[in-house]
């Protein structure tokens, strides 16, 4: 018999998938935008309510479908559902008349793809949802129809198609090696396949396009600024993580030590974390700064992925940390993107409050104590601590993380600076404000309530910063602030000349 989870997961995927049908009738098309926040709700219920471990077999689907849920997927589903919900609320207020129906259609399709890929366990449906997300996402990127949007869309599409093809080839090879259509069988098979390196290269590159790996990232800083704000929020918060999830479920973690690949990924992560920061602080458009910040943050996650590849024994712990970090970053970054579209209200107190709420998720990204960021940073530090890791580059990880933290805060400060010149003074549409506040709330508060203590994920040690850890968190931030202040000073001086 169908268990409630099965019904819920079908509902979660099919609701956004069938939602575009509303566009067929004029009255439906008018009502479309009000439905947007509702779409991810079944998925949210599934992520919060259902215990992981259920599975749903769909033998008629493609080459035999299997949808299931484990801890990792649950976290990603949670992130996806939450982010799309708040972005959906925001979008109700944000959307103008320009091709609104078209936007809603692509919104629904992208959402369906994004939700579906987190629950899909068979190769066919995973790849299907991934492709659906990719191609429907194009509609969100080019929505505004400006020349920049079209250009960004073209770059996005070219890279996405290349990525899709790399994934296709990689999955084909992997599933042929495994003689199975299930993702769960792939890592072990890849680890022992004769074409191991080719498969890994294809998968790393294919998913790397989504995850913004250096040299595969070009579309990100182009697409994020031009997309409508709620779309950039989900693009940067949730869809970028789909690439990460792709790595986590297909690459041979914990099967065998891949020092070469690990080193490569660590280097790539370091380049992304620092290089993106350097490029990012030179940007003038707030959302472009955020896009580079995303690349930088993903760089840190790539760092962890690399470590997990290099050291199979450490992979399970690192998995939990990566998931945690992804969740934290997704929510915070989503909130930051949404804040790019708010307006400043009248009244100095209110303004200050708004600025504070804008800044807080950013500071959280940088690891402000008692935020999710601190939690994530500490977890990462613990996960990458030198002693248990056993490979060549392990010693460089800690300084890299510190540099990453500095870079993060610099980017956030740059964002706030550029945003300061752009924000307009007027009333926010109520739904827009509600969506933004919800995102800030989720990022700052709800994060704490989320089910951390589940089996296999974050267990021990306790992640709340003890007093002795505070300094470790704060000093990189102080460096960043000092750097920023210095830059400001220099800029003033130069201007005065």
């Amino acid at each position: 018999m169908m268990c409630p989870e099965s019904v819920l997961v079908l509902l979660a995927v099919c609701l956004p998938l069938l939602y575009p049908a509303m566009a067929l009738r004029a009255e439906g098309a008018r009502a479309m935008r009000y439905v947007m926040p509702v779409l991810p709700l079944p998925a949210l219920m599934l992520a919060l309510g259902a215990e992981p471990g259920w599975q749903l077999e769909l033998p008629w689907l493609l080459n035999g479908g299997l949808w299931a849920m484990d801890e990792l997927r649950r976290l990603f589903l949670l992130l996806t559902a939450v982010l799309w919900t708040v972005a959906g609320i925001y979008a109700v207020g944000y959307l103008g008349d320009h091709h609104r129906r078209r936007f809603c259609v692509f919104w629904g399709l992208t959402l369906a793809g994004n939700l579906g890929l987190t629950v899909a366990v068979d190769v066919g449906s995973f790849y299907s949802f991934f492709a659906l997300m990719t191609f429907a996402g194009y509609g969100l990127v080019v929505h505004e129809g400006t020349d920049e949007a079209t250009y960004a869309g073209r770059v996005y599409l070219v890279m996405a198609v290349l990525g899709e093809m790399a994934i296709l080839a990689g999955l084909l090879l992997a599933s042929a090696a495994a003689d199975s259509q299930l993702l769960t069988d792939l890592p072990a098979a890849v680890a022992s396949a004769s074409q191991r390196d080719l498969i890994i290269a294809l998968l790393v590159a294919g998913f790397g396009v989504k995850a913004g790996l250096p040299l595969l990232h070009f579309w990100l800083p182009l697409a994020h600024p031009v997309a409508p704000t709620p779309a950039s929020a989900v693009l940067s918060g949730a869809m970028i993580k789909a690439g990460l999830l792709g790595w986590l479920v297909t690459l041979p973690f914990g099967e065998t030590a891949l020092p070469g690949w690990g080193a490569l990924m660590i280097v790539a992560g370091a380049v992304a974390a620092i290089g993106a920061a350097v490029l990012g602080v030179c940007q003038r458009i707030p959302k472009a700064v955020l896009a580079y910040s995303s690349i930088s943050q993903m760089g840190l996650m790539v760092l962890m992925v690399g470590a997990a590849m290099a050291d199979p024994g450490r992979a399970p712990v690192l998995f939990s940390v990566i998931a945690l970090y992804a969740l934290h970053h997704g929510l915070a970054k989503g909130s930051l993107f949404l804040s790019a579209g708010v307006s400043l209200p009248a009244g100095i107190m209110r303004r200050a409050a708004v600025w504070l709420l804008i800044a807080l998720p950013g500071l959280s990204l940088a690891g402000l104590p008692f935020t999710s960021g601190a939690l994530a940073k500490l977890a990462m530090k613990e996960g990458l601590s030198e002693d248990p890791l056993d490979f060549a580059l392990a010693g460089y990880l800690s300084p890299l993380m510190t540099a990453g933290a500095v870079a993060t805060l610099l980017l956030v400060l740059r964002y706030l600076w550029t945003l300061g010149g752009k924000l307009e003074n007027r009333r926010n549409p109520p739904m827009l404000a509600a969506g933004w506040l919800a995102s800030v709330g989720v990022s700052l508060v709800a994060f704490w309530w989320m089910p951390w203590e589940v089996e296999g994920l974050v267990k021990s040690p306790v992640w709340l910063p003890a007093p002795y850890q505070l300094w470790a968190l704060v000093w990189p931030m102080l460096i960043a602030v000092a750097l920023a202040g210095l830059t400001l000073l220099v800029a003033r001086l130069v201007k005065q000349r």
Binding site: L61, L62, T150, G153, L157, M165
Partner: protein
């Protein structure tokens, strides 16, 4: 003879009789002609469904008699025939509906529908042929019955295209005849048999067998538009849209591909072909054609020509699949026989709709057509994505199965070809899709017509949508029994363990 023996004959006669009746009807008998057309199509579909069920349970349908001394005229229905027959029956119905709408108010409709039915009768004959001789008979009948359709418009350009078409196909037919006669001289009358005939052929006829194989492929390759024999296909695009649709999806191009499948599986036998070493070169040729067609498609400005080159590329998927030694790859090739048909007919219907409704023939003019014709554009988008091989559409199932088969057959280079071909497909289809949905229309349409509430004539509106839905369904539900993939696997099962 029992009813079972006669069922294939009935299926064949349905369209043949319809053709004769239509020829006899006066030009003005619009309603009666439509009724005959649709009635015959439905009856045929019913017969085919009955036979599909029968073949699935293992019933033998067949009839045969000696035609010329030494050779038999044989009809029989096996799993492979039924695949092609189903394609022909289903798409005939839809194309007839479409053609009725498309040719509204145009002259010579009686002639058109008469030959149209003849053409479908030929495809049915090709599907049900029980030996090479019978196959050839219907193969040539197909050539002849499509000529009047290609030149239907009667313009200089159409006639020129018709001439090119004939030069190619008749020459191909002559080569094919030579090959068949030679084969007959070597081995006598060869019925199509699962597992083929030549698994333990003497070594001293190997050379003749290889030469005959080359001739057979050359003869069939003309219709299958294998490089360098594809030249007629883009020119034949002057034909009315339903004809192009039928030509590309079911009739001519597929007949060639189907013939190659028959030769490899049921005449030579897959193992014998592999032993003779003819599969690998053919696979290379097919792979080259796949890429070549796509590259040529990139530079086209006319929508239908682009689709034609896309066909050149896509049909070779089938041939490539056949050349992959192993059940999975074979299933991939066979399933594309159906998948390509459904997807390509969708695209051609849509191209016809744009031309009929808005007067759009060139890709440049398609900007913003998605708003004016959302239904058609949706169908086009699905078809295009299917061609690229985006999951979960039909094209993906093909590519996935082909790729797995290639790996199983240790022909890893095929993966690279598949990926490259998909990239090229994306490179020429995605810009069109972008134009449809994301560009603003540039002023007025070249020649706009309006029909009531729908975006276009209802006869034109529904067929592409239906085939688009089929494109999705055959992909998503690929693992259901009687889905194209399952049926292809059934065929392969019977071919590999005769």
């Amino acid at each position: 003879m029992t009813l079972n023996a006669w069922l294939p004959v009935f299926a064949l006669m349905t369209s043949l009789v319809a053709a004769l009746v239509i020829f006899a009807l006066p030009e003005k008998g619009y309603r009666l002609r439509t009724a005959v057309n649709l009635g015959a199509a439905l009856v045929k579909l019913g017969l085919v469904v009955v036979m599909v069920w029968g073949v699935f349970r293992g019933v033998d349908y067949g009839v045969s008699f000696t035609m010329v001394p030494g050779v038999a005229f044989a009809l029989k229905a096996d799993a492979l025939s039924m695949m092609f027959a189903t394609l022909s029956a289903v798409l005939w119905l839809l194309t007839t509906v479409y053609a009725v709408g498309y040719l509204e108010d145009s002259p010579n409709r009686s002639r058109f529908f008469g030959f149209f039915s003849l053409c479908v009768a030929s495809t049915m004959g090709i599907a049900l042929a029980g030996n090479l001789f019978t196959f050839f008979l219907f193969y040539e009948m197909l050539t002849l019955s499509t000529y009047p359709l290609v030149v239907h418009r009667g313009t200089e350009k159409a006639l020129k295209a018709g001439r090119t078409y004939l030069i190619y196909t008749l020459t191909g037919g002559a080569v094919l005849l030579l090959a068949i006669a030679w084969l007959h001289g070597v081995e006598g009358d060869l019925p199509f048999r699962e597992g083929g005939h030549f698994i333990d052929a003497d070594a001293d006829i190997h050379l003749s067998l290889i030469l005959i194989f080359i001739l057979l492929v050359a003869g069939l390759g003309v219709k299958a538009a294998v490089f360098p024999l594809h030249g007629w296909l883009p020119q034949a695009m002057v034909a009315p849209a339903p004809v192009s649709a039928l030509l590309h999806a079911v009739a001519v191009v597929k007949a060639g591909a189907f013939g190659i499948v028959r030769v490899v599986y049921n005449i030579y036998g897959i193992e014998a072909s592999s032993l003779l070493g003819v599969l690998e070169p053919l696979a290379w040729l097919a792979a080259f054609t796949m890429l070549y067609g796509s590259v040529r498609a990139l530079s086209q400005v006319a929508l239908k020509r682009l689709l034609a080159f896309s066909t050149v590329s896509q049909v070779s998927y089938i041939i490539l699949g056949v050349c992959l030694f192993g059940p999975v790859g074979a299933a991939g090739g066979l399933v594309h026989l159906l998948h390509q048909g459904i997807m390509k007919i969708t695209l051609f219907f849509c191209a016809g709709n744009y031309a009929e409704t808005l007067g759009i023939h060139r890709i440049d003019d398609m900007d913003g057509a998605g708003r004016r014709m959302p239904g058609t554009s949706l169908a086009f988008t699905i078809g295009a994505f299917g061609m690229i091989g985006v999951p979960p559409l039909a094209g993906f199932i093909t590519k996935w199965t082909l790729g797995s088969g290639a790996l199983a057959a240790n022909m890893d280079w095929v993966i690279a070809v598949l990926v490259l071909s998909s990239l090229l497909n994306a490179a020429y289809f995605l810009p069109i899709v972008h134009r449809l949905w994301f560009r603003e229309p540039n002023g007025s349409w070249p020649r706009e017509r309006r029909w009531g509430r729908l975006e276009t004539n209802a006869w034109l509106f529904w067929p592409p949508l239906l085939t688009a839905v089929m494109t999705v369904v055959v992909g998503v539900l690929a693992s259901l029994p009687f889905s194209p993939l399952s049926w292809a696997e059934l065929i392969v099962l019977r071919e590999y363990s005769p």
